[in-house]
Symmetry: C2
Subunit: 258 residues, 2 copies
DNA sequence: AACACTGTTTCACTTATCGCAACACCCAAT
DNA sequence: ATTGGGTGTTGCGATAAGTGAAACAGTGTT
């Protein structure tokens, strides 16, 4: 039953390394920048980028001559997202939740040892959590991550908790035992909180989304700045949040059994 | 000044070919299916998929053993989309436009000789245009495409119109001269219509979005089934549509000069 | 049980890719 | 203008990386 480690290929690895150089902060990169960052020879880098360009995975700015990620990626991602009928089921509930809370709403699913945002509605306010589609965040210190951890298969959770848990802020819980207490809390209350555990000034609450088989497949969250997400406000948000999560779950065929 | 054709690489081409096999309709594929579709040897296909899996570009279903596109693509696409501050500027106007029209709203930008959806809000109705993020559509027979063509650099438009224009439906305009008349009409009225020119039963109206430099960089559209998008309804939609497009343009720094 | 089918892996071959080096280019400073 | 430090692209021979045939291991069907 041991999963055979998939065989890799040099070129695929290199492509991945190159593409991952591009971030929101550094979205336009030159050949040399990428070459240095990846350790690849500059001619190799140049040719790989050129080939990637041909396929639309990157684009080249006409003015600066720098490369950036291309729209073919959006095209492919669209296929992935379309498959998540979760997103479609969620749409209307997200809208109303966004309306009520005026904060940023996210849906995250598990992706390896992290969670990844597959749907985002941003708060209309100028100070807001800038949820980003496709963004990966850690599990142990985010509201969505805690939800996913709580309902995860025990052996998988065990494995993740045994990894070194990075302390992003002073509030980050890095002690597995305290985390287990938190999970029990999530189970009981039906929602998780991250109180500046991932980023200073950022508070979020999240609730699980179930599919028809009763598995937790995603987490729905409300994220905002600490000063707007005080305990009173959070208390107000909990019902709409859990309601929305429940409605979405029902859309997916989940039936409350008892 | 002649753009040198970018050099390609076999592996990159193959990767692209493989990834493009996956569609909404055929989202889960086995090695043999892909092998047949691409003409690649099955061992090659198997190894490439295995390597792509290692990088998260594809995933492998534990039950069926089939492959599907992976979340790393969403991750990368997120970076691309984040760069489009257009999407952020548009958000609130999209919401209200969706509210008013109850039809599917899209924002498309130019991508080579096609347009690509970078933002989609779906109609709440069950019969609706299923706009899909990242979906590519032709230019000459869609409302957004016509808008983009209308305001495109003349030589580029010339080139595209000189290509064979596929007749998707009986209504598709494939004659460059008639199309030019249509462009003049778009210029004058400030919006474009596609009346079942791309798909039977699908009608859409679109209006241009300008950036601070006064260039048309995107098109905003309302799409719905013919029976709901009759000429009266379309007339009602035009003002909200052009208003929204204008507001978004302003958000991007566009100033109406005269 | 034999069969048809899929997906993975081994292995010797060969070709696609690499890294060097040379080149072309841009700009800033002399 | 001339040099110099930087970038990005491209020939070329060497070679390592990827290939395809075939064998193997599963899975389900008749």
């Amino acid at each position: 039953m041991a999963e055979s480690l998939p065989t890799s290929m040099q070129t695929v690895q290199r492509i991945a390394t190159i593409l991952r150089c591009f971030t929101e902060a550094e979205s336009d990169l030159g050949v040399m920048q990428i070459s240095r960052q990846t350790g690849l020879h500059k001619s190799t880098t140049s040719r790989l980028l050129s080939a990637l360009r041909q396929e639309g995975f990157v684009e080249k700015s006409a003015e600066t001559g720098k490369y950036r990620l291309g729209l073919s990626l959006v095209n492919l991602a669209g296929v992935v997202l379309e498959k998540q009928n979760l997103r479609q089921a969620a749409q209307e509930y997200l809208k109303s939740l966004a309306e009520i809370t005026q904060e940023t709403i996210n849906i995250s699913i598990l992706d390896g040892d992290e969670c990844i945002n597959i749907e985002t509605v941003r708060s209309p306010k100028s100070i807001r959590y800038a949820g980003q589609l496709g963004r990966r965040t850690p599990l142990h210190c985010t509201s969505t991550g805690k939800v996913l951890l709580t309902y995860m298969r025990p052996e998988q959770r065990q494995r993740i908790l045994s990894l070194p848990l990075h302390a992003y802020t002073q509030n980050t819980i890095t002690d597995p035992i305290s985390l287990r207490v938190a999970f029990a809390d999530v189970c009981e209350k039906g929602y998780a909180i991250s109180n500046e555990e991932f980023e200073e000034g950022l508070v979020a609450v999240a609730s699980p989304i179930y599919d028809r088989s009763g598995e937790v497949i995603a987490a729905l969250s409300i994220s905002g700045p600490t000063y707007r997400m005080d305990s009173n406000t959070r208390a107000e948000f909990v019902t709409p949040l859990t309601d929305a999560a429940q409605m979405i779950s029902r859309q997916l065929g989940y039936v409350v059994s008892y």
